[in-house]
Amino acid sequence: MTTLLEMRGISKLFPGVRALDHVNLSVEAGEIHAICGENGAGKSTLMKVLSGVYPHGSYEGDIVYDGETVAMKSITESEAKGIIIIHQELALVPLLSIAENLFLGNEVAKAGVINWPLAFQKTSALLQKVGLNEAPTTIVGKLGVGKQQLIEIAKALAKDVRLLILDEPTAALQENDSQKLLDLMLELKAQGVTQIIISHKLNEIGRVADRITIIRDGSTVSTLNRADISEDRIIRDMVGRDMAHRYPERTPNPGEVLMQVKGWNVFHPDQKDRQMIRNAAFTVRKGEIVGIAGLMGAGRTELAMSLFGHSYGRNISGEIAMGGKPVDTSTVTKAVAAGLAYVTEDRKALGLILEEPILRNISLANLAGIARRGVLNQRREAQVAEDYRRAMNIRTPNVQQKVVNLSGGNQQKVVLSKWLFTDPQVLILDEPTRGIDVGAKFEIYNIMNQLANDGRGIVMISSEMPELLGMCDRIYVMNEGRIVGELSRAEASQERIMAMILNSVGKAA
């Protein structure tokens, strides 16, 4: 095998921060090379150096590509060499068709006039290559995230890719879409496309990667061969310490029933006749962590958001009782007053005001708690934020920092702080560890355990089954808008959860 890419001693300075410190990376032609590291370790920065986002001269070190030292000044130059990066946030235009997206900026045209028949023909060929059965004229925005991800790859193939970089390609995908994507990666490898994948999901890395380079705090820690890859080793190198237990120990001590939901029905907000939640019922006890498992689209988020202030859906019916008394949660204010809190799965879009400082985000859901007769006490606000910064270990120089500058894990801690300040009895955590690194995940788990030990009830929605199995005392399984089963900690296993989901398919209520 020959070496396709060698990055030697790459260092990149941002004002006040050394993001990369003599990183070495060597990628063989035709392999799938994984890059692992905590958030903020420097993975994305390294890829931006490679793809010309940070032009030659703004970093130190050498890049040797295909046997020669290269100095790329822009993305256009790197793409001309066949280096193509697919970013975590997809860069498709939702209102344009697949064909228009595939050749955007690279149109099949002569003298500015587009040759549509040829473009459609090429599009069909590319779609076939990535295994997507859609018409070239389909509007991209109408497709799911999984299919959009495949279109991104088709777009890369349209540009004669030699080195494909995928930055957390499966972060937003559900299980079977992820599997499809990984299969496609292996197929592309068979066709000779070298690939670099950045991922937090260790099982995926184990499945596709030939080698893996681990980066910590802007430096290369190790490069492992396939034979040496083990989850424990990867985690140890990533966080710099052993993590014998990925889930902190807790002795569950469930008390009386805190929250009881009965006969909960919700219809789609736009399509009147489409029922999204059917007759859902569940209970949460004091000091209990209850999981809700299910595939993407099972209705977990819809259930949670409809419970919390009817924030999703219409024609909502059913009963909620808190501590045995029926409560009205038809607006967010009422739900909060009833002792409910919902931590969203999409913290950037729904959970935070990114351009505002930490302290203002923390106080937002309970401004009354820092005000008297409508007048804010900003000293108290700062005090509250400072207390949560310490309790949650939010890593920031001070609470005046804008939230947008924090890493994913620390942003999640800010959202948690915001809801804890409303002093809820029951917290619904929707994908609380999505997109955050291993170390921060562990901290979030510890916080959850602490909250349960304090006597609060926790509902944890997660797409990562090991996480549910590791954290929850009981697990409800949802599919197609119904709760199709309940498993105790002792009964629960990935196989049983999947079996429940599969056995329930198509059985209308």
Binding site: V332, T344, I353, L364, G374, L376, V399, Q400
Partner: protein
């Protein structure tokens, strides 16, 4: 943190004040050199406030609308319409002034409510709703006035704009200071105001230190306060030796303080910023976003009505053209004052300074006899430069 790094990280705030000072200085020199007139004469300073009060008053409300992520294009027409209502009520129907003022404010509030309803509860883009409002209320102004001017207003109504705070000390102070004319009340008010500014600043400084915020370096704090207070007392003195504090200036000052307090110290004010910053997140935090947007438009309508009466009182008649194009001056002042185009940020003090910059330029260029053609070009370029400066600063 050294003074220099602190200043460069807060360039926008200080830049605004410096720009205002520089522009005033520029006109003082140029006006003196070219036509040998004192730009900072008592009379001109009085004029400056009388001419621009309406922009500042409406800019206060426009800031809230823009912070909430919306825009109101109708205010120029609302100014015309409420002025017309005031004229019809006082001149044609003979209502007493004390009834006309609240009636007009209510009309303004209703207009704001009518527009805010569609924006807040039906999610119709505010640009469209208020563009429609701009046409509708200009039309209604013409209809109400029958295409003609109505005037003159009784003396008491005119005093809204052209009246002055009476001197409580009589002539005693003039004798004391050996001046021919001096309004002691005016001077007292600005001195008290200057002291308040320093006191509040010191209090905030102490508070910030408690929050762990990097405080403004002492030197910067005192220089900034010296400039602000010096300007306050200078302007106050000039007004005092002319005719005293215009009523409009008092209204302006009181409103500025109220709105600054509202935006920075109250839960409702805070919620408007949250709503502009991320409406969905605000909503999921239990904030009644629709109600707040509705309030912002009602508030804007009331302030436009107040401005409408002040404009009518100043012209001493209501004309079908009154207020035409005001919305652009007001919106420009808000953006020059540093508000974000996407909502969620902007400060009352910034907006007032922004409006003053526009006002000083209007006034200075008029004195110099620069044609309306060039004036528009220059104002347009200043607006563009201010926003480019913002964006450049943010990307740096």
């Amino acid at each position: 943190m050294s003074e220099k790094t602190y200043l460069s990280s807060h360039l926008r705030e200080y830049g605004m004040i410096m720009a205002l000072v520089a522009i005033v200085f520029f006109f003082t020199v140029i006006v003196r050199a070219s036509i040998d007139v004192d730009f900072l004469s008592a009379q001109n300073i009085t004029n400056l406030f009388l001419q621009n009060s309406y922009v500042i008053i409406m800019a206060l409300g426009m800031l809230l609308v823009i912070v909430a992520g919306h825009i109101d294009l109708s205010i120029g027409s609302v100014v015309g319409f409420t002025g017309a209502v005031a004229a019809v009520l006082t001149v044609n129907l003979g209502w007493p002034v004390l009834a006309v003022i609240p009636a007009c404010l209510i009309v303004g509030g209703l207009i704001g409510a009518a527009q805010g309803y569609w924006v807040a509860y039906w999610k119709i883009p505010s640009f469209i709703v208020t563009l429609a409002g701009m046409l509708v209320f200009r039309g209604l102004t013409l209809w109400l006035l029958n295409g003609q001017n109505i005037g003159p207003f009784p003396r008491s109504f005119q005093s809204l704009s052209t009246g002055f705070i009476p001197d409580l000390f009589g002539d005693a102070d003039q004798a004391l200071l050996g001046l021919e004319r001096l309004n002691g009340t005016a001077l007292l008010i600005v001195v008290v105001a200057a002291c308040l500014v320093v006191w509040l600043g010191l209090r905030k400084r102490a508070q910030d230190a408690g929050f762990g915020v990097t405080p403004e370096p002492a030197a910067v704090f005192w220089i900034r306060n010296a400039i602000v207070c010096g300007a306050l007392i200078f302007v106050g003195y000039k007004l005092a030796i002319f005719r005293g504090l215009p009523n409009v200036v008092m209204v302006l000052a009181v409103l500025t303080v109220i709105y600054a307090f509202f935006t920075e110290q109250t839960t409702s004010g805070r919620r408007i910023y949250a709503l502009g910053g991320n409406e969905k997140a605000a909503k999921l935090s239990g904030i009644k976003t629709e109600r707040l947007v509705f309030f912002c438009f009602v508030n804007m309508g009331v302030l436009a009505a107040l401005a409408g009466m002040i404009v009518a009182a100043r012209l001493n008649s209501s004309t079908p053209k009154a207020g035409a194009g005001f919305e652009l001056d007001v919106i420009a002042a808000v953006f020059i004052g540093g508000a974000s185009m996407t909502g969620g940020s902007g400060k009352i003090v910034g907006v007032v300074v922004g409006a003053l910059i526009m006002g000083v330029m209007n006034n200075g260029m008029s004195i110099l006899g620069i044609g309306i053609d060039y004036q528009q070009v220059i104002k347009g370029l200043v607006l563009l430069a201010a926003v480019i400066f913002d964006v450049y600063n943010k990307n740096k």
